[in-house]
């Protein structure tokens, strides 16, 4: 079924609606009688339909592709954001990986130098035991060679081997640190400190007590630990027992009357007190003894905790002269001519200075 170009063009014109008038009538007449033309027409129609379908699909695919591309390019910000986020994540991962590697290096160097720190600890162990023995006496003296247990938890820097001389120097520095700390207490800066959360503080105290008892000041039992874990605990510096000077309430009142009667114009209060002391014995030693514990607070807390038997002091060095006084079953702490009232409480409290002048006069005697 070969088709010549003239027939092809004629059929095309008919199918496209371009035949008009006589030409169209002639073609229709021929089509009715000529079977060959009918076949050619049908075949050409079928092929044209095929061509149209292919082209339709082609254009549809073109549209789909371009619209999907547009939709994809509509979200460059989202893609960029994701890329940036992924980059940041990657950088963080790399950073922490390197950091952990560095830490591992430090740990390994720490481990390699841990023998040095053990030697250091063994040397200081004896000093520490000596310190504890000294502070359990009634006359607490701060030994120059004693070392703060909190600082002991910090391992010596890697690649530094501490000699005996260096150890002594370090202890001297620590002693100086203590003196500076005492000066701060003397300046009565206690009230300016922020009050810590008493509950959390108690928890820390309980944990610390339990740990201290289990450790029993044996530095040899200290396991190699990271510096930041032990540094954050309060340290018990020393324990001592202190007798309390008790005053009689009634006698004091009487004495007050006497004092008022004895006051003369121009006389000083000290003179009055002296004369009163001579006239009446207002305080007696009733052999009341309280266990006194000196604590070093990591948070710089200055205060106390008193449960009736034990008085825990924070922010006061053990070499400071501290006296305990009792008046009307109330306990007072005297330090550097400053008197603080001590209340029985299950939680830690700050030092409250006594401001009542009459009470101060009595207690200062």
């Amino acid at each position: 079924m070969n088709i010549d170009q003239k027939t092809y063009d004629l059929i095309n014109s008919y199918l496209l609606g371009e035949l008009q008038g006589r030409k169209l009538d002639a073609f229709k007449a021929e089509l009715k009688t000529n079977k060959n033309l009918q076949e050619k027409l049908e075949l050409q129609k079928a092929i044209i339909t095929g061509i149209e379908d292919v082209r339709l699909n082609e254009l549809k695919n073109f549209l789909k592709d371009n619209i999907s591309k547009k939709q994809n390019t509509k979200r460059p910000i989202t893609k960029t954001s994701l890329t940036i986020a992924a980059s940041i994540g990657l950088i963080l991962v790399i950073f922490f990986s390197i950091k952990s590697l560095i830490n591992n290096d430090n740990d390994s160097s720490y481990s390699s130098d841990y023998q040095d720190s053990l030697k250091y600890n063994e040397k200081t162990k004896a000093l520490e035991n000596q310190k504890i023995n000294q502070v359990t006496t009634n006359t607490p003296t701060y030994p120059e060679n004693s070392i703060d247990t909190q600082l002991l938890a910090i391992a010596p820097p890697p690649n530094i081997e501490l000699s005996d001389e260096e150890t002594t120097e370090l202890n001297k520095e620590l002693a100086e640190y203590k003196i500076i700390d005492n000066e701060i207490v003397e300046e009565n800066e206690i009230a300016e400190e922020s009050e810590p959360d008493s509950e959390s503080y108690d928890e820390i105290q309980d944990k610390l007590m339990t740990q201290k008892r289990s450790i029993d000041y044996s530095l040899a039992d200290i396991q190699p630990t990271r510096n930041d874990s032990l540094v954050q605990m309060d340290q018990l510096i020393a324990t001592t027992f202190k007798s309390v000077r008790s005053f009689s309430n009634t006698e004091t009142n009487d004495s007050l009357e006497i004092v008022s009667n004895d006051i003369k114009p121009g006389s000083t209060s000290i003179q009055v007190t002296k004369s009163r002391t001579k006239k009446s014995k207002k305080f007696t030693n009733e052999n009341l003894t309280i266990k006194l514990e000196y604590w070093n607070s990591v948070i710089g807390f200055n205060g106390y905790k008193y449960d009736g038997n034990t008085l825990q002091l924070f922010g006061i060095a053990q070499n400071e002269t501290v006296n305990l006084l009792s008046l009307d079953n109330r306990l007072y702490l005297k330090k550097n001519e400053q008197i603080y009232s001590i209340e029985k409480s299950s939680s830690a409290k700050r030092f409250t200075a006594v401001t009542n002048s009459i009470l101060l006069k009595i207690l200062h005697e």
Partner: protein
Amino acid sequence: MFIIGKISDELIVEKIKSGDEKILVYLYKEYHSLIKSFILKNGGEENIIDDIVQDTVISLWRNVQKPKFLLQAKLSTYTLAIAKNKWFKELKKRNRFRRVDVAHTKSMIASNTTINLDHSIIVQIVQEMDETCRKLLSYFYFDGFNNKTIAERLNFANTNTVKSKKYQCFKKLQSTVLENYQKNDFI
């Protein structure tokens, strides 16, 4: 798509007539919401909208190429009219419209008795044919480009080349189709 901003109806028509296919994407985007709104208000679903818009835009493309085409209304109105016809045709297909077009059915029967060709085979043959021939025949039969436009798009020397090449391509295609059918496939 490289068209930014809104372009005039005249320019759209001009671009279609010059065979710039990129305008199809612009038309799709431009009239998508208009057609979508119409289909959803007339019982259509979301999943059919893209197909209708696509068919509408391609029909607009083809209609503009016809020599008789004359834009007497806004292009959006004309496009919406095409979309309406497409949607009603779709509804007919779904038998929502119960009317039976007897004449159309009779003509379909008559045509089926005349020729019995597997349409998918012809489509496959067209897809596999030489690209230049396929494009030439597509541009002529589907897009309705005139010989001048075809010559420009396919880098032919002149319109006479288009005419002769078109006949040669069709003849070759017809021979390939006939090779795949027996004589008794026809009347």
